[in-house]
Assembly symmetry: C2
Homo-oligomer: 362 residues x 2
Amino acid sequence: MTRITMVGAGVMGTALMFPAADNGNDIKLVGTHLDTDIITRLKQDHFHPRLKRPIPANIQPYFHTEIAEAIRGAEIIGLGVNSRGVHWAAEHIGPHLQAGQIILMVTKGLESSDDGELMILPDVIKSRLPASIREQIHYAAIGGPSIAGELAARRHTNVIFTSRNPDILPKLQASFATPYYHIWTSTDIIGIEVCVALKNPYALAVGLAAGIAEAETPPDIAGAKMHNYAAAIFAQGLAETAYLVQKMGGKLETVYSLPGAGDLYVTTQGGRNSRMGRLLGMGKPYSDAVEEMPNETIEGVDASVSIAPAIDAAVAAGKLSGEALPLLRKLMRIVMRNEKVEFDFDSFFSQLPFNAPKRLES
Amino acid sequence: MTRITMVGAGVMGTALMFPAADNGNDIKLVGTHLDTDIITRLKQDHFHPRLKRPIPANIQPYFHTEIAEAIRGAEIIGLGVNSRGVHWAAEHIGPHLQAGQIILMVTKGLESSDDGELMILPDVIKSRLPASIREQIHYAAIGGPSIAGELAARRHTNVIFTSRNPDILPKLQASFATPYYHIWTSTDIIGIEVCVALKNPYALAVGLAAGIAEAETPPDIAGAKMHNYAAAIFAQGLAETAYLVQKMGGKLETVYSLPGAGDLYVTTQGGRNSRMGRLLGMGKPYSDAVEEMPNETIEGVDASVSIAPAIDAAVAAGKLSGEALPLLRKLMRIVMRNEKVEFDFDSFFSQLPFNAPKRLES
C-alpha cells in the first residue's frame, strides 16, 4: 500500500487515481482553488461531476485549504493541475514537502526559462520549490495516450512513467499498474516530456485541415476530406518532435512509440485542440476563434505561447535550426500574430535525408 | 514532357495521373480486365465513375487489350493494380517492355517468396519479368499518405518517390510534382515499401477499438470511445514497423515521417481496413465479418495473409524475433484462424529500451 496524494481534481488527476485506488492504496485527492465545486460534491456523495461517475471509496477528497494535511506523509504527490497552474502548485505544496517524497507530473507542457532555455515541467517545478527541500525530492512524469474519461472507465490505457532516477520507477509502477493500466518505465524524461508537450500544438495543426475543407466554397464533395493534408502535418509534427527531442538529449524510440506517435494520434481524435484547429482552418483569425471558446484552456495554444520565446532564442543563438521547425514556428505565428493558415509544404522534412521538392510556387 | 503509361485505371492509378497531366505530360491510362466499364466510360466522355469527376483531357484511355500499344515508347510505366494484380501485371507488361523504361509501383504490399523471404513489390515485379529484359528496367515506388479522391481533387498531398537508383529520381519528381503534389525523393526503397505495406494491417488493428467499444453491453457512455486502446495499437504498429524496417535494412527516418507515421495516420481515418477492424472488434469471427464485405479487397487482410509465411519462416530461422511482433502476429491469427480479438498489451514495446510491465493477469 502506497500513500498517494493528487493535487488537482480535474479529470486527468482524478482518473489517474482510479488504478491507484484499485490497487488498494491510501489516496488523497486535493482540489485546487478552481476545483471547489468538485471537492464539495465528492465530499457529499463521491460523484465526480466532470468524469460523470463515482470515484472509488478509498479516495478521500480534500479542499485546497487542507493541502498541508494531505501532503504530510504522502509517498507520492501527483500534480494534475493544468499547465497554467504549475507555478501555483509549486508555491502551495513547497512549504509542506518532506525529504524523500516523489513528485509525479501529470500536467504536460514546456516553458521558456528566464534566460531563454526550454525547460521540461518537472524541472520547472523543481526550480520553484524552496531551495532547502528541492534536492531532497524525486521527480517523475507520465507520458503516453491517456484520455481521462477512458482511464476512469477502466479502458485499456498504455503509458510510460519516467524519471532521471531509475530507483523510484519500480515503486511507481507497482503502485499504479493494473490489468487495464499498462505501465512501461524509462529514464528518458527529456524525450517523454518534449513529446507530450508538443503533441498539443501539433494536434491543433492536424485539426486545421478539417476546417479548411469545411469552409471551402463551393465544397468539393468527391475530395471532401483533407486527410492527406492532415497526415502530412501529422508526419511533419512527429519529425519536428524527433528533431527537438534529439537536440535536447532525448531518445528517438520515445518519439515513434507511446509518448510521441501514440499520444499525438490520440490527441488528434477530438478535444479542444482539434476544435480550435478547425476554427482556425475555417479562416478565422486566432483573435476571433478564441472568442468562440471562452474560458477553455487550449493546451496547444498555451504550449505554443509558452515555448515560443525559448525556440526563438535557440534559433537566434544557432542552437536550433529554424528550418527544422517550419510547422511549429508557423503555428506560433498563427496564434500569436493572427497569421493566415497556409503552409509551405515544400519546407517540410528538411532535416531528414530526403531530397526535398523543388520549392514550386504554390 | 514525359510519356507516361499507367496500368490500372482504379482510383489510385487514375488520381496519380492528375498531377502528371497538369504538368503537360503525354499520358496513357490502361485499364486491367477488371476496369473495362471504367475505360468504356472514359473513352465516351472522359468521366471517371469511381473518382466521380472528369479526367484531364491529355489522359488517353486504353483497354487492356491495347496494352502493347500503350507501353511502347513510354518512359515511365506506373503500376496501379491492386495487390492481387501484381503477378497479372508482370505477365501482361513483360513482353512489351523496352530497355530503359522505368516501372513506378503505386500498388502497396509485401510478399513471401517461394523460399520464405519477405519481398517488396518492386522486387516481386522484377522477378516475374522476362529474364531478357528485367535487368534493363528501372524500378521505383511511391510512399506517403495519399487518398486517391483527394489527390484527384488536387488537395495538398505529400509523398516520397523512391528507387535504389538515384539517377532516375529527378525525372520522376519533375514529371509529377505540382503546387499541390509535393514530392520528396529517397533511395530507401526497403524502408518505404515496408512502411506502406504494413500500414494496412496496422490500420485495421487500430480500427478494432471502435468495434469493441460499440459492441459493449451495457455501453459505458462516459468512456464511450476507446481512443487510448487505439492509440496504443497505433504506437505498437509504428514500433513494429520500425523493427521490421531496420531488420530489412531500411532507415528509421522513413518510419517517423511520411511513409510510416503519415501513411498509417491517414489509413486509420476511414476506409475498408477500418471497417473490417470495426466488424472484428465487435466480436465477429473473421469468417463472418468477411461475408459482410463481399467483393471488397481489404488490403490489411491481404497483406497479413501474404506476408505471414515469410514472417513465420524468419521467426523460425531466428532472423526475426517473434516477441518483437506481437501485434502483427496476433492480427494474422485473427484473420487466418478466426482468433478472438484480445491483446496482451504488456507484451508490446519489448524491443525498445523501456522496462516492461510486470505481465499482470488481465
